[in-house]
Amino acid sequence: MSKQAILRARNLTRYYAVNRGAFKPNATVKALNGASFDVFPGETLAIVGESGCGKSTLARVLTMIESPTSGTLEIEGNEIALVGGKPPDELRRHVQIVFQNPYGSLNPRKTVATMLEEPLKLNTALDIAQRRAAAEEMIAKVGLRPEHADRYPHMFSGGQRQRIAIARALMLNPKILILDEPVSALDLSIRAQILNLLGDLQDEFGLAYIFISHDLSVVRRIADDIMVMYFGKPVEVGPADRIFEKSRHPYTKALFSATPVADPRRRRQRIRLVGEPPSPLSPPPGCAFAPRCPNAQADCSNTEPPLEFRGPVEVACFHPLD
């Protein structure tokens, strides 16, 4: 392939030590347990999974808010000395994040313009007038009006706040934008507006998106590639069309069939998953999904299945579906 990946992650892990009280040894929670993937400019990688699967930990590692326990991360071919060390600021600038809840992620005491100018103040040598001009330009780009610049977050609706959060993330011209459930806190009629905006911005700036979501209808709409995660690990990675058409991992299939579809004629038999994801303090032996898997066989609980190419899609399963 001639495409050059803008971000390459190899075997990223992030473990946390959990204190269980004075008389027990600390436990290790493997929140992220080996994720490898590439992200290309102008494309969208969707990360899908349920709560506790490591999606948000991955987002924190990719934005360099936290350093991984092991593994490597390359941005534009520059390897980041992540483990232990502090990543260089120029590289940090390339990755920005938009959080789920626009009610919590904006500082209520700052005006929109102040919030947008802040990253410029910290990272560039622009003077006041230039910063203000840049902020106003970005306000227009995300579909807000110029008079909004001097208002406070409480004066905006949820959709508008999410536009502000997106504008703030774009101020430093990042190459990669991490979107952590950017539309799930928004109403239906507003959701479509934000999705369109994200599409337009991607075309305009050639941004690479890492789109974290559990809403499969949204993922289907915007993703080029999908990574399905379960219990800290990718279980299926590949082109979105292929995975939506025919998912090979039983978890992916169950997840897709559990998602309600807005078509009353298609009420169908769901694959019933029994139980809940395992506790991170006592991971099951072998495949983490085996205790809930309808196709689990004896060997599934012995060893962990590696992520392997099965056709165009990588699947971590000993008995992938046909």
Partner: protein
């Protein structure tokens, strides 16, 4: 006779800035064994209307209704004692956030027990037995042990199951579920919805499902009410609603769903936002966002064209030619 019948229910809140109309002229009937979904965006008054039915609104709320009758009982003039016997007995509600709806200071067993103690005259042993059966019924593994757990020891899905166990403890005839699965993961959401529908079918309960998720509506409801800014804008059986929405708002909402749009095209959007307390437009509340609005819409509020069990609040409801796709 309908299980629950509501005529012209309005709820106004006294605020520092005057009266705020949260629910305006809502009328609906729920039959025995029916699943009725109420959909709407945030602020559409869907929860407030049902809280009014349950009598759970604070004193700042001013509730008016021409008729508010549950199973022959007039809810408007109900005395507090009778109300307490009704709630949790023959009429029950499940709330959106299971983690915050349970009392953190008591075990889940004690909380289920309280329900049964108040509404029945079972003795201590029968109650315990009953509670364990309920936990079993809602699919909680190892009920004997879980009975003694506190809410913080349970996951979101488990807490929601406990909430459901409490709600169905006294075999209610009407269950109101306010976004029962919104806070949960999809695989757990599927389990909870399936459980609710199962219980609804076996007990022949009326189920009112409040949600904003069109997918959930499509997969569960028999009949659907669409609310917008406190008004009921459309009511139709589920198939008709999804295939032939008659109100422009419903039609716009459905076409804004990512799964209904073509991937190579922009998503159709609804411009603007839901009106709040101070920017309620004249005439039809949807007119500033409606593609079809004309002068009549901007001046005269539409009257509900109340056909029997369907309804559209619009001067110009969308019509469909007999041949679809035309």
């Amino acid at each position: 006779m309908s299980l629950l019948s509501i005529r012209n229910l309005s709820v106004r809140f006294k605020t520092a800035h005057g009266l705020f109309t949260a629910v305006e002229n809502v009328s609906l009937d729920v039959e025995h064994g029916e699943v009725l979904a109420i959909v709407g965006e945030s602020g559409s008054g869907k929860s407030v209307a049902m809280l009014a039915v349950m009598g759970l609104l604070p004193w700042t709320a001013e509730i008016t209704a021409d008729e508010l009758v549950f199973d022959g009982v007039d809810l408007n003039s109900l005395q507090p004692k009778a109300r307490r016997e009704l709630n949790g007995g023959s009429m029950s509600m499940i709330f959106q956030e299971p983690m915050t709806s349970l009392n953190p200071c008591f075990t889940v067993g004690a909380q289920i027990d309280e329900m049964i103690r108040f509404h029945t005259d079972e003795d201590k042993q029968q109650r315990k037995q009953h509670a364990l059966e309920l936990l079993e019924q809602v699919g909680i593994p190892d009920p004997q042990k879980r009975y003694h757990d506190y809410p913080h020891q349970m996951s979101g899905g488990m807490s929601q199951r406990v909430m459901i166990a409490m709600a169905i403890a006294c075999s209610p005839r009407l269950l109101i579920a306010d976004e029962p699965s919104t806070a949960l993961d999809v695989t757990i959401q599927a389990q909870i919805l399936e459980l609710l529908l199962d219980l609804q079918a076996t007990h022949d309960m009326g189920l009112i499902l409040i949600t904003h998720d069109m997918g959930v509506v499509a997969e569960t409801a028999h009949r659907v009410v669409v609310q917008y800014a406190g008004q009921q804008v459309e009511m139709q059986p589920v198939l008709e609603l999804f295939e032939h929405p008659r109100h422009p708002y419903t039609a716009a909402l459905l076409s804004a769903l990512p799964e209904r749009a073509r991937r190579d095209q922009r998503l159709p959007t609804i411009p603007g936002v839901v009106p709040g307390q101070f920017d309620r437009p004249q005439g039809c509340l949807f007119n500033p966002r409606c593609r079809f609005a004309d002068d009549r819409c901007r001046t005269t509020p539409p009257l509900a064209a109340a056909a029997d069990r369907a309804l559209t609040l619009c001067h110009y409801p969308l019509s469909y030619s007999p041949e679809p796709g035309a």
